[in-house]
């Protein structure tokens, strides 16, 4: 999420790159979501994320140059810079997509349908009081691992949070915008309404 410039320069190249990769994925989802929900606010967030990626890109450039001593270093860093360039390109494309919001809605009726028909759906659901999700963070629930759905935005009493952090706690009445398959969403809705109990991932089960 939003990093101060000084923080950025204290991050390692590895950390910076992880951030760039994650942002480059969520920015595209948000761009399509802004068109789907006709949301100027979401489009603004897309522009904001693009600026964040710009800052990260700059920090990575400086750091990779400082880290290059040998030809081998340079080759490694060339790979890193190529990822960053690609993520940057993705973020600019996301901005181009979000910018279509400026076109009068009657000129782009097909876009909503197109997004709706995609393999990867964007959907909104409300977390009900009797859901097991209430009171847990996104990380504790491992929402994406359990349902295949990624939370791209969340609305609570404080308003909208886009690309919420893993330690964000979910509460009754929160609205979440998610991205994933149609069947994943059906499952998520069952959890969100409290119809079925959450299946908490087993601790350490990944190492088996």
């Amino acid at each position: 999420m939003a990093e101060q410039e000084s923080d950025i320069f204290h991050m390692t190249v590895r950390e910076l790159l992880t951030e760039v990769k994650d942002l480059s994925e969520v920015i595209v989802d948000l761009a399509y979501a802004s068109l789907m929900y006709n949301s100027e606010e979401m489009a603004e967030k897309v522009y904001g994320l693009r600026d964040e990626i710009e800052e990260l890109k700059y920090a990575i450039r400086v750091k990779t140059m400082l880290a290059s001593r040998t030809k081998k270093d340079a080759e490694q860093m060339a790979g890193v810079l190529q990822v960053v360039a690609a993520a940057d390109r993705i973020s600019h494309s996301a901005v181009d997509i979000a910018a279509l919001l400026q076109v009068p809605a009657e000129k782009r009726p097909f876009i909503t349908e197109l997004i709706d028909e995609s393999d990867e759906k964007i959907r909104i659901t409300r977390i009900r009081a009797k859901s097991d999700m209430v009171g847990n963070t996104i990380e504790q629930l491992q929402v994406e691992a359990v349902t295949g759905m990624k939370i791209i935005a969340l609305k609570n009493r404080q308003g909208w949070t886009y690309d919420p952090d893993h330690d964000m706690k979910l509460r009754a009445g929160d609205d979440i915008i998610v991205r994933g398959t149609a069947s994943g969403f059906v499952r998520l809705e069952e959890f969100a309404t409290g119809l079925i109990p959450w299946e908490f991932p087993e601790e350490g089960g990944d190492d088996l």
């Binding site: 590895r14 990769k21 994925e25 990822v83 390109r89 494309s93 197109l114 393999d119 691992a145």
Partner: protein
């Protein structure tokens, strides 16, 4: 009901998102096979992109009063193609052999999930069965996200989709499930 152009744009969009997914995965696991799939899809995108352009031009001449709508389509198409190109340039890192790099590996490898490709042999118990019959996900933990059959892809197969010998399955799941999944595909695992 979507028109011809909209349907093609939808395929373009779905493919571009799949490519980004596959490209980052190929990078993360330094997997040349998956990187090559990204490049294959990139070529298909180029062909599809040309068809869409032709279609928009001819429809635009037929219905000049709707030109604003066609401009929106072209803008969307370009953005989608740029995303696909970016995915291809990520896969290119793997194909150049630059992904064998601790910075790239560790940076992105924060998830316990992986993507694997497996080709179904003639002798595999998967051949000729539907996903509903096999219940692969329950048995292996692996979830098939796409099937490559010859030159075409089936995205998001459902329980009625039948697997054929020669299909390449692209599956996502925990690393622990990969061995059994691959064994089932090559025929060395006979029981599910």
């Amino acid at each position: 009901m979507m028109g011809k152009i909209e349907t093609m744009l939808l395929e373009l969009k779905d493919t571009s998102e799949f490519m980004v997914d596959l490209a980052y995965t190929s990078l993360l696991f330094n997997n040349v096979e998956i990187a090559e799939e990204v490049m294959f899809l990139e070529n298909q995108m180029d062909e599809l992109g040309e068809k869409i352009t032709e279609e928009i031009v001819s429809l635009g001449m037929e219905k000049p009063q709707e030109i604003a709508r066609f401009v929106v389509m072209v803008r969307l198409q370009i953005a989608i193609e740029n995303i696909a190109d970016a995915a291809a340039s990520i896969a290119d890192i793997v194909l150049r052999g630059l992904a064998d790099n601790p910075v790239l590996h560790m940076s992105i490898k924060d998830s316990e999930w992986t993507i694997e490709m497996a080709t179904v042999s003639e002798g595999s118990i998967m051949a000729g069965k539907t996903f509903g019959e096999l219940r692969l996900n329950s048995h292996t933990g692996m979830f098939v996200i796409a099937i490559r059959r010859g030159n075409s892809f089936i995205f998001g197969p459902d329980r009625h989709t039948r697997i054929e010998a020669g299909d390449s399955l692209i599956a996502r799941g925990p690393e622990a499930g990969v061995g059994f999944f691959k064994g089932l595909a090559d025929g060395s695992e006979r029981e599910i």
